[in-house]
């Protein structure tokens, strides 16, 4: 078997004539967690949707485990989105089970599998609650349980913690690191947070400004699961600063020339997030 989980070759896409993704090639290794980071609107979600078969690129090729992708592959790829995609009319456990129903899993053992996944993210108590009765962090935890339950080789996450506060996001990141170090899944994770990227990723791919393409890839050597101590280490700071420098150039480039001076300070604050 090949060591490459996802192979993107010269994929490019335009939306109604507007270039969203410039020709991009990328190999995602089996079992790694790759973060995508870049200025807003540079095509990160576009690339992720192409990888998952939700969007057919105008040109280029996508393969997973050597097989061309032409549409969704629920047997091998699962998504977590930024906004809650739990069905509001179903309870949490029903929502997780629904994923299995969509995937076509046999009826026997479905409820048990759903309950197991819910226990893995520590939400057993809330099995019979509706999504509206949960906090934003708990909802994303439930979405994580759903994706774990689907048990695909590949998980694509588009700013899954983007709508959450810094503290909740840190804790969920730690949990994710622990959960995933056990499962050996291949993950592509879009984020705007430099800290989150360094904390979670084996490699971080930095996008250039729109129409984006991957500019550099930064390796993070530390072993999984990562601990809070890693965040305070010198290694972490060096990597984070390196990403900051790479990204800052690109974000500067997306600003109009007359905006540059005025935006400079605000800019720095945002990137530091």
């Amino acid at each position: 078997m090949t060591d490459i989980a996802i192979q993107i070759t010269e994929a490019a896409h335009r939306f109604g004539g507007v270039a969203a993704l410039a020709p991009t090639s990328l190999s995602v290794r089996r079992g790694e967690l790759l973060c995508l980071i870049g200025p807003s609107g540079c095509g990160k979600s576009t690339l992720l949707n192409i990888m998952g078969g939700l969007l057919a690129p105008e040109s280029g090729r996508t393969e997973i485990f050597g097989e061309a992708i032409t549409g969704p592959r629920p047997d091998r790829i699962a998504f977590v989105f930024q906004e809650s995609t739990l069905m509001p009319w179903n309870t949490i456990i029903e929502n997780i089970e629904l994923g299995l129903i969509f995937q076509g899993a046999a009826k026997a053992g479905r409820r048990e599998r759903a309950a197991e996944a819910l226990a893995a993210v520590g939400l057993s108590e809330f099995a019979n609650h509706y999504p509206s009765q949960l906090s934003g962090g708990m909802r994303q935890r439930a979405a994580l349980a759903r994706v774990l339950c689907l048990d695909t080789d590949i998980i694509l996450m588009d700013e899954p913690f983007g709508a959450l506060d810094e503290q909740t996001r840190m804790v969920l990141g730690e949990d994710l690191s622990v959960l995933l170090s056990r499962t050996g899944k291949t993950i592509v994770f879009v984020t705007h947070s430099l800290g989150e990227a360094v904390f979670l990723a084996d490699r971080v791919a930095v996008f250039s400004a729109r129409p984006g393409t991957i500019k550099t890839i930064v390796e993070v050597g530390a072993a999984h699961p990562r601990t809070p101590e890693f965040v305070t280490s010198a290694e972490f700071a060096v990597l984070r600063n390196r990403l900051y420098t790479e990204l800052h150039e690109e974000i500067r480039r997306t600003m109009g020339p007359e905006l540059r001076l005025a935006a400079a300070s605000a800019d720095g604050g945002r990137v530091a997030g």
Binding site: G52, L54, P72, P74, D75, I77, A78, F79, F81, E83, T85, M87, P88, W89, N90, L98, G99, I101, F102, Q103, G104, Y130, S132, L150
Partner: protein, 246 residues
């Protein structure tokens, strides 16, 4: 809740007081407006003698027939149209325009085709009831949050599974509102049809009593219709509550 119920009851009481005043104080002719007591007594006779049951049953059957037809056709049409963006753009304005034509105009045609019995009332009620049901189904289905659909598709949902587990539950409140309006309109249309041309039904009794200048009987039947409408309204409110429970 309590206060609003009290105001509603007060409104009904004021209505009865005005009615009493009109017949006793202002001496409105008993041919146009009998006293409340005379009407209530007549209603009691109609009910206790069992006279009311035949027309009530006739109307109930016609409303049930009209509503079932409009529900089945309206839902099927709504789902069919909402499945494709092009069909929505073509069909929705068309349905809205058709809905603006007073369907009562077709009632003479319906009596020619279906006769003076239940058939023509069912046809009229169904024709009028089908539009709000179809239109609300379309609007409910086409306003489902996009991310929910994308997520379901990414998990492998088939078209049927998507409809059953995502689109219909998401559209349920709007569909139920459509059913509610459809039922009310079917009820009104059936009664209207009965007063125009029929053999039986509450509307027929009202028209008949008016023809024979039996004002007390006419008002007694109107009272029965009001009671039926109130019961229907209660049942529909239950249905709405069901749609909103989540």
């Amino acid at each position: 809740m309590r206060a609003s119920r009290a105001i509603q009851l007060a409104f009904v009481a004021v209505l009865f007081a005005l009615w009493w005043q009109a017949t006793h104080g202002w001496h409105v002719s008993a041919l146009l407006l009998p006293t409340p007591l005379a009407v209530l007594l007549r209603a009691r006779v109609l009910i206790s003698s069992g006279e009311v049951w035949t027309p009530l049953a006739a109307t109930a059957i016609e409303v049930a027939g009209a509503f079932s037809l409009s529900a089945v056709i309206g839902l099927a049409l709504g789902v069919f149209i909402a499945r494709a963006g092009l069909r929505i753009r073509v069909a929705e304005p068309l349905l809205t325009a058709l809905n603006a034509i007073p369907a009562i105009l077709f009632f003479p045609l319906f009596t020619l085709v279906f006769g003076l019995g239940a058939g023509s009332k069912i046809a009229l009620g169904a024709t009028i009831g089908v539009f709000p049901i179809a239109l609300n189904t379309i609007s409910g289905l086409s306003n489902v949050e996009r991310p929910l659909i994308t997520a379901a598709i990414s998990m492998g949902a088939s078209r049927m599974a998507l409809l059953r587990h995502v689109l219909l539950p998401a559209a349920a409140p709007s569909v139920l509102a459509g059913l509610r309006i459809g039922l009310t309109l079917s009820f009104l249309a059936v009664l209207g049809g009965e007063t125009i041309a029929s053999f039986d039904g509450l509307g027929h009794q009202i028209a008949d009593a008016a023809d024979n200048m039996e004002a007390a009987t006419m008002y007694a039947y109107i009272l029965v219709v009001v009671l039926v409408a109130a019961v229907l309204n209660q049942a529909l409110a239950r249905l709405d509550g069901f749609g909103q429970r989540r």
